[in-house]
Symmetry: C2
């Protein structure tokens, strides 16, 4: 049975009137493609996919959905990892695919106005054409859309210096769940006129309304990026290394990965061993080396850290090609470990607590599942850890995930112990909502529910994401 059959035919007709007949899809293939994100945990089951071309069309669809009391799932590049854009319950999917234009650019303000369907990489390239830079970057940049990035406040590999998506959003046009169009903050840096509603929409995963346009700030292009990869004896050494460099150099990245991760990437054959000294941990850091004096500074700090025993070995890129090769040691991890069916977690604790946090998790895994390989990597400069447990070859997927559930419970309890976040940058969606109380107090969640009612009194905007309404 076609899921779309469940939609009243008058609703379908009205949707077609709003966007054009060809822009409402109800065939099985379309429902399957636009009904999921990268999680694949849930069976997609939307009723229809609609492709509006303007904010006003989105508004008309939202008003119609309210009238028929049908739920809506906003849909961007569908690269989410928490099922925030999955339509599993007969929702109308509003795809922003057609709203993919750069609308205007103000040179003096370094401000670009875009539609929400603009792909991250497209914005990065547009910025480059203006001699500028959009610094939020991550693995999915080639497909993720800016509306989705705003919905999850996307982070990535440059957060230590450039911050999250939130830092770059100076204005939003949204259609609320009620069907109102709001033009929020209009690109201003300074605007002290009451509640920052655009901040509330950033990271709200489409549960308050749909972002249709945004004003995005751009910045100066970084020049002559230098990359250092360091081998480090233990976690206790990571903090003083970070401190020593940060005191004098503005780092654009400070990443780490463990030995398991490095060996997997090297075995995969697409990267070259940076040095012979093996160690439990590796740090990758990056900075702008446009002035010789900064590079000299970095070398001095490096030597100081060697003398202190915090660094065992290290290498600094001498060219852009070398810098890219060194980055591949870190960026190749996700792809490399994919065949090992990794059990993934994206968590965050204060940097101070990272060593104790990792030690706690490692100890429990080693005690209970000595045959599990744990691949750690992440953005240690901002406390964001990616925990990946690799499936031993002799376990079936089901057996493995059953055991991981036990570890999962312990991971989230440990996150709570250190006042951390169960989702650093992937959002809550459907996959993490049952664990939300490990990070947010029940009373905070109650306030979130009440806030949602203000913007979406009928509860039609992406229901079942972040929290359930009751």
């Amino acid at each position: 049975m076609n899921a779309a059959a469940s939609l009243p035919s008058s609703l379908l007709e009205q949707l077609q009137t709003i966007v054009g007949e060809q822009r409402v899809k109800t065939d099985e293939d379309s429902l399957k493609s636009w009904g999921v994100d990268w999680t694949k945990h849930f069976e997609p089951r939307p009723s229809a996919i609609v492709f509006p071309g303007s904010t006003e069309e989105v508004q008309a669809i939202v008003k119609l959905a309210n009238q028929f009391n049908i739920a809506i799932t906003p849909s961007g590049g569908r690269t989410g990892l928490s099922a925030g854009a999955v339509a599993a319950n007969g929702e109308i999917v509003i795809s922003l695919d057609r709203m993919n234009k750069v609308l205007s650019f103000l040179h003096a303000d370094r401000l670009v106005r875009i539609q929400a369907g603009v792909v991250t990489e497209q914005l990065q390239q547009y910025a480059e054409q203006q001699g500028l830079y959009y610094p939020v970057d991550f693995a999915a940049a080639g497909s993720s859309q800016m509306g989705g990035n705003i919905g999850t406040n996307a982070g990535g590999i440059k957060v230590i210096h450039y911050g999250m998506t939130r830092e770059w959003v100076l204005g939003l046009t949204v259609v609320t769940g009620k069907g109102d169009i709001l033009h929020l903050n209009k690109g201003m840096i300074k605007n002290a006129t009451g509640y920052a509603l655009h901040q509330l929409f950033i990271g709200s995963e489409g549960t308050l309304g749909i972002v249709t346009e945004a004003e995005i700030k751009l910045t100066r292009q970084p020049q002559d990026l230098k990359v250092l990869v360091l081998s480090v004896p233990d976690f206790a050494a990571v903090m003083p290394i970070l401190h020593a460099f940060q005191q004098r150099i503005d780092l654009t990245a400070f990443e780490f990965f463990n030995h398991v991760a490095l060996e997997k990437v090297l075995a995969h054959g697409h990267a070259v061993r940076p040095f012979d000294t093996e160690s439990p941990l590796y740090v990758l850091l990056e900075f702008e080396g446009r002035f010789e004096a900064v590079v000299d500074d970095a070398m001095q700090i490096f030597e100081h850290c060697m003398e202190q025993g915090w660094i065992l070995d290290g290498v600094m890129s001498q060219s852009q090609a070398q810098a890219e090769a060194l980055w591949h040691l870190r960026e190749g991890i996700s792809e490399t470990i994919a065949p090992f069916t990794p059990y993934k977690n994206d968590i965050s604790v204060l940097i101070t607590h990272v060593p104790a946090f990792i030690a706690d998790i490692d100890a429990v895994v080693a005690a209970n599942y000595p045959d599990f390989e744990v691949c750690w990597f992440g953005h240690i400069g901002d406390g964001n850890l990616h925990l990946n447990i690799l499936k031993p070859a002799d376990l079936t997927k089901d057996e493995f995930f059953e055991k991981c559930k036990v570890v999962n419970q312990f991971v989230f309890e440990t996150v709570q112990k250190y006042n951390g976040s169960i989702s650093a940058e992937h959002g809550v969606g459907m996959t993490k909502k049952d664990y939300l109380t490990y990070t947010r107090d029940p009373i905070e969640i109650e306030y979130m529910r009440e806030l949602k009612k203000v913007f979406d009194p009928n509860g039609i905007m992406n229901p079942g994401k972040i929290f359930d309404l009751s």
Copy 2:
């Protein structure tokens, strides 16, 4: 009659039980001091001033106020310029004066946890003692409290590089209008677990609840700050100068002031004329000159701008003392013009629109009030303009302000024409709420009202600020 007489005696007794007898003040002097901010537009008339020592005491007071249906005005350093902390209608003022401690510091995270009554300058000094820097700085830093800065999302002179207060707040403890204690975001850089409630509290001027503690990020101390003061022929030249410098140098300030402002400061006698070339406009810019190559870069850009005719003359500081002397040309303006009873406005438009905006205002003032001197200065690097009209000696205050009201209307209409903000960094409070619709749509204000009801259903938190409830 003592205003406090209007409070039920059982309420007064219970307040004394919560904070201690000596910490509830109802004498006329205290009511007058703690009932006002720097605006002095309104007659203070609070019922009592209460000095809690902990979040729990604040919570108990808020619960009591709900029970008795008495309004509360949160009170920090009372340096506000929009009457956001004025208690003019029998409110209980909750002063954070006693909650002025630094609670803890995490080195690896560069994170300091403070009580909301910590004074801005106290935090700046604490940061310095850790070898770090708190970069939000403005004229009132010696008295303003961090809770108040958070309430208005304070900006100041370094926003172009360091952003507003919002950028530095990684966590808040608040007591909501309902009396709930929320620990929001807990210091994390990355936390994608639903609505960013702390962002909503930043800039809400105490209308949703009271900030009692905050986690504040610190950063590296800037080194060898260099200051350039430039004379510029017209506004058309300001944008290419900004662009030329920003392309290669990370500016920490880009300020401007007009000839009227410079002459007043020089006449005041506390500053030295930077060069002989007079011009309608002056720009002050600042950057870190810790590497010789950056200073060379700046000189090259300066020369290029001279060749283009964008700069007529200029001077660069050769020492810290000179840098401070040059800053005084800009920072001395407010104090210098105070005796001229200036009519002030703090507005913001996109940088692109600044020249047209200023030309519009100047033309209207010149046509209608040719005897008015207009003193312009501000943070042009972020679109924030301070408009000051000076009172001619032959007008009385009342005559002058009567005429200014007419100009005011035109100023706000012009702000609206350019999609700007009627309050860039001073907040709305009571003085600007009647003009809020020039920046925020009525429908946005309606959403703000509904959001307030979620946190403060009885409407007791700082009522009459930002907007009226009905």
